[in-house]
């Protein structure tokens, strides 16, 4: 199963084998079965040209005896170290085996990055503000989203991608607000990746200029490494966790642009040192903005909504400017 592709392990709620109604097809060689068995499936909503770095669109027949005759055309891989334009595959003479060393120099996360850029382009064209909410399990991501949707839904179209290893409980909590939501179950995967989100976007069919909230799998480690194409990561930390979490899990706090210190209603009952927590966070990320909030009482949320409004506005105006010229 390829996790970067997400087709192997992740399941999309309501998905019956990847839709055939969508735009383009690409081939994935999945690691857990015959290697030369690359299969095509369709995904994504694309009204634009692709230039991501996996071979797509031209996979010819694949035989299973370890002699390849398929020639995937390498499409310009933005930012890749290796230029495939010369078409090494064309040089290959089938059946001629020779040992050799090939230079690759490919970043392991490069595939995820190219999917993320696709998502980002999609959001930019539609004027959508996409936020990726990350935290340890139980910090209050779903509670916060439910509250925010109820408070913002009169002004904005809002859609949600819910990532959890199992169950669609959180998506159901979101749908109770009337917002569109799709659950992605990552199975054993501990984070959402950009390709899973790309699949979810097709199903969601979000409106122009809307807000997209992505609730990542509860995990302060892995989601930091996987860009989903969002405008900002928003990290939640609750007052029932240690104030030194930002120092213990620095990658996440470094990757985020906003920290919401949630469950402020519990502060009177706890020894949580808010200033110390913020100091830890600023040490790993001097540009991190911080708001103290309670998803339960609503304290501090007006400031969060203002933060969202300003960025949503910007996304909408940029998309309009694009369309205008």
């Amino acid at each position: 199963m390829c996790t970067v592709c997400g087709c192997g392990t992740a399941t999309l709620e309501g998905d019956k084998a990847h839709g055939d109604k969508h735009g383009h097809s690409h081939s994935h060689a999945h690691g857990d079965h015959d290697h030369s068995h690359a299969h095509d499936h369709d995904h994504h909503h694309h009204d634009h040209d692709h230039d991501h770095d996996h071979g797509h669109g031209h996979s010819h027949d694949h035989d299973h005896d370890h002699h390849h005759h398929d020639h995937d055309h390498a499409h310009g891989a933005g930012g890749e170290a290796l230029d495939y334009g010369a078409g090494l595959a064309g040089v290959h003479v089938p059946g001629l085996s020779q040992e050799r060393i090939v230079q690759i120099e490919r970043d392991i996360l490069s595939k995820n990055r190219s999917y993320a850029e696709e998502n980002r382009g999609y959001f930019a064209r539609k004027g959508v503000l996409a936020l990726n909410f990350v935290s340890s399990p139980g910090s209050g991501k779903t509670s916060l989203l439910v509250r925010a949707i109820n408070d913002l839904k009169d002004k904005h179209a809002i859609a949600v991608v819910e990532g959890d290893q199992q169950t669609s409980n959180d998506a159901e909590r979101i749908r109770a607000t009337g917002a569109k939501a799709i659950q992605v179950n990552t199975g054993k995967g501990c984070h959402l990746d950009a390709h899973m989100v790309g699949h979810a976007l097709e199903t969601l069919d979000i409106a122009d200029n809307s807000l997209l909230f992505v609730e990542n799998v509860g995990n302060l480690v892995c989601p930091a490494a996987f860009d989903l194409g969002e405008a900002h990561k928003v990290v939640l930390l609750s007052t029932t966790e240690g104030e030194d979490k930002p120092s213990k899990y620095p990658d996440m706090f470094a990757a985020a642009d906003l920290m919401l210190l949630n469950k402020s209603d519990l502060l009177p009952h706890l020894d949580f040192d808010t200033d110390a927590c913020i100091a830890h966070a600023l040490r790993v990320n001097p540009n991190l903005q911080t708001l103290i909030v309670s998803a339960k009482t609503g304290e501090g949320l007006a400031a969060f909504y203002a933060w969202v409004e300003a960025r949503s506005d910007l996304a909408r105006r940029k998309a309009e400017a694009r369309k205008a010229g």
């Binding site: 970067v4 071979g55 020639h71 040089v91 040992e99 690759i104 120099e105 392991i108």
Partner: protein, 113 residues
């Protein structure tokens, strides 16, 4: 962190390169894994054996090249060794250190046939 899914990405890259560059078997894989990347080489080796089963890299040797963590201390104005990602400068103890290397996760080279 998630060595399994990273290893799957590695194998996917191998399959792709195999199709592109016309090789059917991978005998050795050289990965460059930085000391500050959060990746545990031992876990990656374990995952590699599992994930490559039934692929063109089955039985391949995995060579992990570790690159040390390095940063630029703004206060000392020089390059210093970093043992953790957001760690202090070993010379002045300050935290104004920008990581310059050590977070690499790269497939560098393959021996193929």
């Amino acid at each position: 962190m998630h060595e399994m899914s990273l290893t799957e990405s590695v194998v996917e890259i191998l399959c792709e390169e195999g199709r592109r560059q016309g090789f059917a078997r991978v005998k050795t894989v050289w990965l460059e894994i930085g000391a500050l990347s959060g990746v545990e080489p031992g876990a990656m080796e374990f995952c590699f054996d599992v994930v490559t089963r039934g692929t063109l890299a089955e039985g391949a040797r995995l060579e992990i090249v570790r690159t040390p963590g390095q940063g630029w201390c703004l206060d000392c104005e020089k390059s210093v060794a970093l043992s953790e990602r957001f760690g202090a400068c070993p010379e002045c103890g300050g935290y104004k250190v920008q990581m310059t290397s050590g977070d690499e996760m790269r497939v560098k080279e393959l021996e193929v046939e």
